[in-house]
């Protein structure tokens, strides 16, 4: 089969593009350290997650120097903590969110960032995020969860280290 040299050129260009696409994603995972949310968070009782030891008292827990665990319970239509009172963590810390749902599938998204996961009943979504600078992030449910889904939101406040009230957290 005879292929015109122009066609050959743009076939090669298309293949190079595909390799480049895959290459950037590999760079993101290996070089930039972007991780995927997997099933490492384990499971909880799908109907009563509060009976699980980690979700009997959701909140912010300190696990080490600059290391925090945040347990969040999502239900129709609020995050606890998050909706009533903001989730407060200090800047310059690695925060691991453990999110469980008490009823239906919810979403957990720090608006405008890549921090984004589904919250499936019975499954704990575990994601670690590094907060370098003080900022206020809005938290949104982005999986339709019922009549007031659009009202299901909250706040994550990353406060400067010296303003962080350490007595609010418990050493896990």
């Amino acid at each position: 089969m005879e292929i015109h040299r122009f066609e050959r050129a743009w076939l090669v260009a298309a293949l190079v593009l595909i390799v480049a696409f895959v290459g950037t994603i590999v760079y993101g995972a290996v070089g930039a350290g972007v991780a995927m949310v997997d099933d490492s968070g384990g499971t909880v009782d799908a109907t009563e997650p509060t009976t699980s030891p980690n979700f009997d008292d959701p909140g912010v827990y300190r696990t080490g120097d600059g290391e925090y665990d945040v347990y969040v319970l999502a239900r129709q239509f609020s995050f606890a903590p998050g909706s009533g009172s903001p989730i407060t963590v200090p800047a310059g810390s690695n925060v691991t969110f453990h999110v469980a749902s008490a009823d239906v599938t919810h979403g957990f998204n720090l608006v405008g960032t890549n921090v984004n996961t589904m919250v499936i009943p019975g499954q704990v979504s575990e994601l670690t995020v590094s907060f370098d600078d003080p900022a206020t992030y809005r938290l949104a449910c982005h999986e339709y969860c019922g009549a007031a889904h659009h009202d299901m939101e909250g706040t994550v406040e990353v406060v400067p280290r010296d303003q962080f009230n350490a007595s609010e957290v418990t050493d896990a």
Binding site: R5, F6, T24, L110, A147, D151
Partner: protein, 274 residues
């Protein structure tokens, strides 16, 4: 949100003042004090804050004369367990209202209360089994809602004081719900006609053309093919324009990919790192 304490109080004052003559004149109305009709200035419709309250049927449950009245928080209604039951209740001054949480994630936020009253509600979100006791001394209308479920219409009202004659807060009880459809059915018919017309157009055109003599029949036979001016081999022809188009598409793709991955994604605030 406009606070309407003043008008409510004054209107009630007027009603109470007029109650003597009104009740005397219209004694018929005064025989039905149990279900007073009121619209609470649209509080239970979507004109108020949040959504319309589906479980409010325009009736104020009369529980005057009782020491303790129970309001269920998170009762069935409004598309889930998002209702106060009863949504509107009339109690006597000094009555203790017990709010009983029957489902999870609710609170009681005060929207409006009479001048001089200091009801706090309960803004902390509580779960099933929680109870809140509030004693209402000041006469007037107290409006409250559940913050997580305001948009589905989880709203309530407490009226403290006896029913003002039979007038029941000014009537207007027909405006409950208030969900008139903004959709004009004529638009629907027009839309259906346009869609059906667009779908049938090729068929109609075919029918129309079928009735016409085909153009090739008119000539009797096809016109002879024109001879090419110049013939080219496969490799002699360079589709430069097409190549340029492909190159432009390629650049657009690369540019969009770089923007999407490196600017939109990697350059976008905190990222999941574990």
């Amino acid at each position: 949100m406009s606070r309407t304490d003043g008008p409510v109080v004054s209107r009630r004052g007027v009603l109470r003042a007029a109650a003597g003559s009104a009740a005397a004149a219209a004694g018929v109305a005064a025989t039905q004090p149990v279900a007073a009709q009121t619209d609470f200035d649209g509080w239970f419709t979507s004109d108020g804050r949040g959504g319309a309250t589906g479980n409010y049927d325009g009736t104020v449950t009369d529980r005057t004369g009782e020491d303790e009245v129970t309001v269920t928080v998170g009762a069935d209604g409004n598309g889930g367990t998002f209702a106060f039951d009863p949504p509107a209740v009339r109690v006597s001054p000094g009555t203790t209202v017990v709010f009983e949480w029957a489902s999870n994630t609710h609170n009681v936020v005060v929207e409006e209360q009479p001048d001089g009253a200091s009801w706090q509600g309960h803004e902390t979100i509580e779960n099933e089994g929680f109870t809140l006791q509030s004693t209402f001394e000041t006469r007037g209308v107290y409006k409250y809602y559940c913050n997580p479920h305001l948009s589905v219409g989880m709203k309530g009202a407490i009226v403290v004081g006896p029913a003002p004659g039979g007038g029941g807060g000014g009537g207007g009880g027909t405006s409950t719900g208030g969900t008139t459809s903004p959709f004009n059915p004529l638009l629907g018919y027009a839309f259906t006609a346009v869609v059906a017309g667009a779908m049938l157009f090729p068929i109609l055109l075919g029918v129309y053309r079928g009735g016409q003599p085909a153009s090739s029949d008119a000539g009797g036979q096809e016109a002879p093919l024109e001879r090419p001016v110049r013939e080219l081999d496969h490799d002699e022809y360079d589709p430069v324009g097409t190549a340029a188009l492909v190159a432009v598409y390629f650049l657009i793709l690369v540019g969009m990919w770089v923007f999407m991955y490196f600017v939109e994604f990697l350059g976008n605030g905190p990222t999941i790192i574990g």
